[in-house]
């Protein structure tokens, strides 16, 4: 006698699971013909972060965001910067009990106005993300997804209904890169990005630049052009510095010059808000007015040094700066 196999329809892997078999994500299991999640209400990481750490630079800047993650991931990037939690079985992680209602309560207790589903991959703790987002929204909190976007369209659209913003890690515009370095495919990620845009979430894109793998100017140009043509020139792009990690610990950190080059390519291609990430103090940390070029938000890493917006307008020339901006907090402030 054999129990029914099940097919997981959450992500493009479409894992087919025999009885008691887990999905590639490690956190979904078939038991007697029913698929269960093992990480609902069991985060292994909970922190209050600045929203800039996600990174989101045009979404309620300077505000704290309650951030959670569970173990597991449906991609297996050889350079994963959070591999200790993303590439481990959930039973081996230091989980805490935190039901969705308590996530919302903790966020409010700690003065956060948003929730972030982040660090590992919110898609694999989908049910937890969905319920916490519903409860959070009902209590006036914003919901932010920090994701690689490796998800099927139907569950993504359902999740978008209760989400406000996303930072999607577009790793490369090469399918070969996705297959060989990340163990996935490019096309579903591009589809997810267009769905985020269609569903009206505030969207920012991160591209972690890894030396020797995706740092060629032609690769960066191709990626920038796709973002510009499909998501719009006002989509903030974060070119982030890679640090040697996990299976690519043999590579050097990304040279700052490479990140500067990527940002310059984006500017030349007409992108309005390209940033350099993981390099505190770089001029590419700032938001510049697309009208007059004034630094409307000056940053040092995650900290805001100066804020020169009135609502969503540059206080010098009045040009609109895209994003969801918090009420002006004052001329200068430090956060965190």
């Amino acid at each position: 006698m054999t129990a029914l196999a099940v097919e997981c329809e959450l992500c493009p892997r479409r894992c087919i699971l025999a009885n008691y078999q887990r999905g590639d994500c490690r956190v979904r299991v078939n038991v007697d013909g029913t698929l269960y999640t093992l990480v609902y209400g069991k985060p292994c990481a909970t922190h209050v972060d600045p929203v800039e750490k996600k990174p989101l630079f045009h979404f309620l800047p300077g505000t704290p965001i309650y951030s959670i993650a569970t173990a597991g991931c449906n991609l297996h990037c050889k350079y994963c910067q959070n591999w200790e939690i993303s590439q481990t079985d959930p039973e081996d992680a230091r989980n805490v009990d935190l039901e969705p209602a308590r996530v919302v309560a903790e966020a409010q207790r700690t003065g956060c106005i948003s929730l972030a589903y982040t660090y590992s991959e919110p898609i694999i703790f989908y049910e937890y993300t969905l319920e916490a987002s519903r409860l959070g929204r009902a209590r006036g909190l914003k919901n932010v997804l920090v994701t690689a976007g490796y998800i099927e369209p139907a569950p993504l659209r359902e999740l978008c209904k209760v989400s406000d913003a996303a930072n999607v890690d577009l790793k490369s515009l090469s399918d070969e890169f996705y297959r060989e370095i990340c163990g996935g495919r490019l096309e579903p990620v591009l589809k997810a990005l267009t769905i985020f845009r269609e569903e009206g979430l505030w969207l920012e894109v991160t591209n972690l630049i890894v030396p020797e793998l995706n740092d060629a100017p032609s690769s960066i140009t191709k990626l920038v052009r796709w973002v510009r043509d499909n998501l719009g020139a006002e989509t903030p792009m974060h070119f982030s510095r890679f640090y040697p990690m996990y299976k690519l610990a043999n590579l050097p950190p990304t040279p700052v010059a490479t990140l500067t080059m990527a940002r310059n390519i984006a500017l030349e291609e007409g992108m309005k808000y390209p940033y350099v990430g993981n390099v505190p103090g770089h001029p590419g940390n700032n938001t510049y007015c697309p009208g007059c070029g004034q630094a409307v938000v000056e940053r040092h890493g995650y900290a805001i040094l100066a804020y020169r917006l009135d609502g969503n307008k540059c206080n010098k020339c009045g040009a609109t700066v895209a994003g969801l901006w918090a009420p002006p907090p004052g001329d200068v402030r430090w956060v965190f």
Binding site: T2, L4, G41
Partner: protein, 79 residues
């Protein structure tokens, strides 16, 4: 005499063919049984690992969204 020998040959050939057919049948059944046994052993191992993981108390057990049951393969019976 020749006719008798011919009859004997035919009879022997039939017996040998029947034996061969029986051997093949028994062999195939053995392979099928062994495979079924291996599947059962795999499932038992997975169940044991799952129960051990659950026993740690660090996991939830909530029904997931977005999945479907697959029809059992021909010859299989759903539990």
């Amino acid at each position: 005499m020749k006719k008798k020998l011919k009859k004997t040959n035919v009879a022997l050939t039939l017996v040998v063919a029947a034996c061969l057919a029986l051997a093949v049948y028994v062999g195939v059944q053995g392979i099928v049984a062994a495979r079924g046994g291996a599947d059962a052993a795999d499932e038992a191992a997975r169940k044991k690992a799952f129960e051990k993981a659950m026993a740690g108390g660090r996991l939830s057990f909530e029904e997931a969204k977005y999945w479907r049951q697959l029809e059992p393969a021909e010859g299989e019976e759903p539990r």
